[in-house]
Symmetry: C2
Subunit: 397 residues, 2 copies
């Protein structure tokens, strides 16, 4: 019997009734002999509520203060879950980021975890206490509250499992990982297991089940993650090292409407300028995803890339230093459509098959990027449903 | 130009509009040259909301977790006020109890402040920042969140003013200290000043304007407190050392319905038992207020005392160890009626005048306690209004 780190998402702790149910399940597990550490997200839509409160004060809330504000959501849910367990006669203790010293790099809104103290955790484990940790947050070297970005509680759970050498279980409102989001493609199949690599790609490409950073972290420390539905006994999906002789070419499809594309036209072809542009954007911690650049013509090139929609204003500001306003265009009508599969490494012709299907179905491809295990296309939003349908059926997802 | 510590209560930060107004006033004061430290309570009824959330999980929520839960209310309001000031182009920073190390004795729900670090406060004052402090809370030696009890943000403000040698201003929804609560006696007069001693008595006797511990603390460090209405230019009341040749016999009246009386009848007269009873109650941090004991007769005495109504169950539990159930009676129908005035020290006959007026008006007195500057009677709740009226008119309050 070892250490089990469970994480419950916002919808799983949205009401007092749900919190009470989780308390029961945690106690059962503890009574079966496991040492329990439970990471919780904020209740239901709490984080959204706090953000809109901040936005009602300022269009661009101070980032330090926004982090201090939204971190309270997980403090509330962790105290309540601990209360519920105590009320059932078991010994639980809620701990926040200060108390277990979840040290981060100090970036507001998307901090990386640098270290977690195991002293306090071990102390309470040794005392037989059930530990409830406020997810999503950490403390910088200067004692500042910094949050880990949306879905950061997954990362909290994996980091604690890595540090404490425990198993990691992520409980959510879906019962596992599907080949395609079932809300988009109702015939999607649930996977028994998926490799870290594939899950990282699917997560970062828009599949909402897991925070991609948490999967990368799990891969780094080789921590298997079980993803299942809260308070259900349905079998979920394991994310872990998958060593099969043969793989299907495609494991899953991810789609995302969260990005926009920016194109800089007719900029002078200068290798320094390109790196300057991307460095300036990176300095603001804006994640660029797809990048494509035309071949130089008359010393000029056009450059397109995608960024998260909510970073658009900041990005345009930065680009103002590199190109004239008339040469910067923004396309908000894109959906990122990605197919992911380790099998692509060994199966040729996947890309050509996809492009042929797109052509036959009149789906226009605006941008393309590929890696060893994925192909991503930017397409029009209105084509999303059809693209998913066509590809999922073809590859039997 | 020195350090100004302002405190804004829950109703003063209840909405985004109110927070924005306070931000403007704080900035004006800062621009006039003062170094500003602002302590805030939780927004509106937030604390009550969190407590009822806890109560929906457990009738008797774990005290540690309850403190961790309700402390989030002030973290929210302090971040929002800092955001609002930043949004107006001024430099503000919110700080919680961990960040400025507000050290307490570790008692959950009613902690005493032991010390406040001035290093962090001085650092940000030197940088010209407006500091916003989450009131009502501190950290124990074990890094546990502990709250200071209802109204504790007043104490936070006074303690910071004492440490930083600043002036202290408490802003609330009333425009100063009145001789009697104007909701009970509409002709009550506002005081320009009141002594610490009188304010301590009035606060602890039920006047809701100030937390009595905060006034004691101010007296100890000789910090004058200004009490005024948020966002109003009406003149408020100073609480400070008052050195007048002559004082009116009575400065104010306080009434409180928050207490109940407990009577133990026919207990064996034994000096050890009395101290054992009060020690057991004190160990549970239950504050006993009025105490009266009959003279021994046949080796038996009766003992009455008042306690806060919400402590009644715990208190009855303790008393079960000392007396039979049939000998313990609880009277919930009491109002504590107190008159307070430094002038009583030098004016005789105040008590006799009050009792004569009560008799003439058929107001039954159930218990009496007195000190040098106050007389407190327990009366029936239904007599409250008349008692206030009769005494306030007689003493021209």
């Amino acid at each position: 019997m070892g250490i089990v780190v469970q994480k419950y998402g916002g919808s799983s702790v949205a009401t007092v009734e749900k919190i009470t149910n989780i308390a029961k399940r945690v106690i059962e597990r503890k009574e079966a002999g496991d040492s329990m550490i439970v990471v919780v997200s904020a209740m239901g839509k709490t984080t959204d509520g706090l953000i809109s409160l901040a936005k009602s004060i300022s269009d661009k809330p101070n980032k330090r203060e926004l982090d201090a504000l939204i971190a309270t959501g997980e403090m509330v849910s962790s105290s309540l879950l601990s209360m519920a367990i105590n009320n059932m006669g078991h010994d639980a203790i809620s701990l926040n980021a200060y108390q277990i010293s979840i040290q981060t790099d100090g970036t507001y809104g998307k901090s990386l975890i640098q270290n977690i103290e195991d002293r306090v955790l071990n102390k309470y484990i040794d005392q037989g206490k059930i530990i409830i940790v406020a997810g999503f947050q950490g403390i910088s070297d200067d004692n500042e509250i910094t949050t880990l970005g949306r879905g950061g509680s997954d990362t909290t759970a994996v980091a604690i499992a890595a540090k404490m050498e425990g198993v990691c279980e992520i409980y959510t409102d879906v019962d596992g990982i599907y080949t395609v989001d079932p809300r988009i493609f109702s015939d999607a199949k649930k996977l028994d297991e998926i490799s870290y690599e594939e899950m990282v790609e699917l997560s970062s490409l828009g599949a909402k089940v897991m925070h991609s950073r948490s999967v990368e972290l799990a891969q780094k420390y080789n921590i298997p993650i079980y993803v299942g539905e809260s308070c259900s006994d349905k079998k979920g999906t394991y994310i872990r090292e998958v060593n099969k002789m043969e793989n299907k070419p495609i494991t899953g499809i991810a789609v995302s409407d969260a990005d926009v594309s920016i194109t800089l036209e007719d900029i002078n072809y200068d290798i320094n300028m390109l790196s300057d542009i991307f460095e300036s954007i990176a300095n603001k911690k804006i994640n660029i995803d797809m990048i494509s650049q035309t071949a130089p013509s008359n010393g000029k090139v056009s450059l397109s890339f995608t960024i998260p929609e909510d970073e658009i204003d900041e990005c345009i500001n930065i680009l103002g230093g590199f190109a004239e306003e008339k040469n910067i265009t923004v396309d908000r009508d894109i959906t990122k459509f990605s197919v992911v599969g380790i099998g692509m490494k060994t199966t040729s012709g996947v890309a050509s098959k996809i492009f042929r299907l797109f052509k036959e179905n009149n789906i226009q491809v605006k941008m393309i990027t590929t890696s060893e295990i994925k192909i991503t296309c930017a397409i029009k939003r209105e084509d999303k449903g059809e693209a998913v349908n066509v590809i999922a059926r073809e590859f039997n997802l």
